[in-house]
Amino acid sequence: MKKILVCSLLCLSTLTVMAQEVEQTPLEKTQAETERLSSLVDDLSKLKISGYIQSDLQIGQEDASLKVGAGKAATENTFTRFGIRRGRVKFAYSDLNLGVVKGSAVVQLDITEKGVGFKDAYFTVTDPWAGWTTFKAGIFDRPFGYEISYSSSSRETPERSTGCVTLFPDERDLGAMFTIQAPKGHALNPLKFETGLFAGNGIKQETDNRKDWISHLSYKKTYDNVQWGLGTSLYLGGTYQGSAKVYEMSGKDFVAVNNAKIGDYSTRCYYGVDGQFLLSSAAGLTTLRAEMVTGDQPGGLGDSKSPNSSSLPTADTYRRNFMSYNVYLIQDLGQTKHSLVAKYDSYDPNTKLSGDEVGLGGSGKGDVAKHNIGFGYLYRMNSNFRLMAYYDMAFNEKSKNLTGYNSDLKDNIFTLRLQYKF
């Protein structure tokens, strides 16, 4: 029996060898090679690599804090630094051929002379039935307002507004989110609703039990030469209290909150509205964007920044009501590659104090309002290169009762940026 089995197997293998020896015609070979290459191209096209590098030359007045290079030396007054502000590489993998579930994954790195960090790491899954709902999880932009998700490579100014940077450090957070939007062509497609739960600690690891809820509802309408959009946002969360000393405003003074405990949470709650208007005309593209955010922000005595730390805070907590807004105006110079830019942004961390009241009643540096007016010029050389020159004039609230803020700080910044996008 064994012999018969061995003989049969031998015969079969011989047949296989004979079958393999049949020569393919040149046409068959070409067809096979084309199929192989086509399959390879299909696989490769699922992965997209993009990014941009922003090399900056910044000149700062003596009190300025530049985004590139080291801080000012004691011997310097006005100081100049050169550096890579952002060096982004994005890997996006999209599996469009699954047929059942459409998924994608994105990883973005930031590579500069200061080191390598990651910016995004998330995946998305779109429901295969109606295509209305997309689930996203990982580290990605918070769904709040418009400025956060507007890419730095497209933005017409070197940095986001002060309020945005203070309330949403690194723009991103760790969380999971649903986006509900009708497919393209559907009457409801202009409406978009994003909602999710986030760690509330920026791109750092999560350090507490509490999750923050962030939502953004937006509407965008496009005509032949006009596009406009409106949005409203909500942030409902809390900030870990690192000590039992928690203060809140009573009249013009900070007073200690009774029964405050370490490990409790102070309310972190923002309300926002945003609007965009774009007009294409013979004068070129005109872009007007505005955003306003107000609410409750817990912070420290010296600043009102949101949490973005790898460990739990240990500092005292100061609860404040804040107000932040910004306006961008960008005007192309006709049908050319040149644009002029103007921006105004304001961030008042404590709306209950102003002027000389800051510095009294337990308040400090963290209560000083800031306003920035900036003017810039953009030259879009081609689809890769863009040149930006921008002068930012920073104004701070003055108070004779706060050391260092008796007058306006000298912290204006000039930025010359050359960007290469790929």
Binding site: S154, G185, T222, Y223, Q227, Q335, K337, N382, S383, R386
Partner: protein, 268 residues
Amino acid sequence: MKKIILAIALICSIAQGATAQRIKGSDTVLPLAQKEAEAFNKKSGNVTVTGGGSGVGIAALLAGTTDIASASRKMKFDEKLKFQQAGKSPVEKIIAYDALAVVVNPGNKISQLTRQQLEDIFTGKITNWKQVGGADLAIVAYSRETSSGTYEFFKEHVLKNKNYKKNILSMPATGAIIQSVSQTKGAIGYVGLAYLEGDVKAIKVSYDGKTFVAPSVATAKNKTYPVVRPLFFYYDKKNAAKITPFINFIGSAQGQKIVDQVGYISNK
């Protein structure tokens, strides 16, 4: 000697490359662009023409892989933004007009429909020809692909921006619609006037529910046929010097005569 020949060949190829013009985009514009290019090339040009759809042509212009994007719809706002971001200034030229004909199988006794009926058919409200006075036969609706300018124009102007029905049969080219409609009894589709032929039947259309007009060059020119659209060429402003001779040729008496011959509506 070899070096001289190579140098001459190189110079010739560069010179040819400098004058060569690539047109890519709308399948509706394709037959017209081909005829115009043939006539132009006989004189001095080196124009090559390919289709793919209006969206494909505009994307190719943005990517710099074509010199002219042909389109049967206007450039969208989001596309304009992409050009602006890339530091490019697209120039728009209307080269001709086209009447969009609604076609059915020649065996179908229906010969006219209102815009509302067309909307209901293509959005899926009307599913049988007997609902519009025809035979008891299921309607098989054909559409172009989403990248097609014709798809978007028909949706915007005939369907009043309502969505096509879910199970609509999307065809990659106008020729495929003609073929499918000619072979399917209950079929209905839409094509550019220049594609009309005996294998399909063009029906009369009414926007007011009273006056039904058949698509033709004459009814399009006298503006009685309601489904008429401009056809466009887009090019980057920086290439204007290179493109202008061909654009001027299309605008000339000879070029516009070709427009009429191909079955489109001339500018003049």
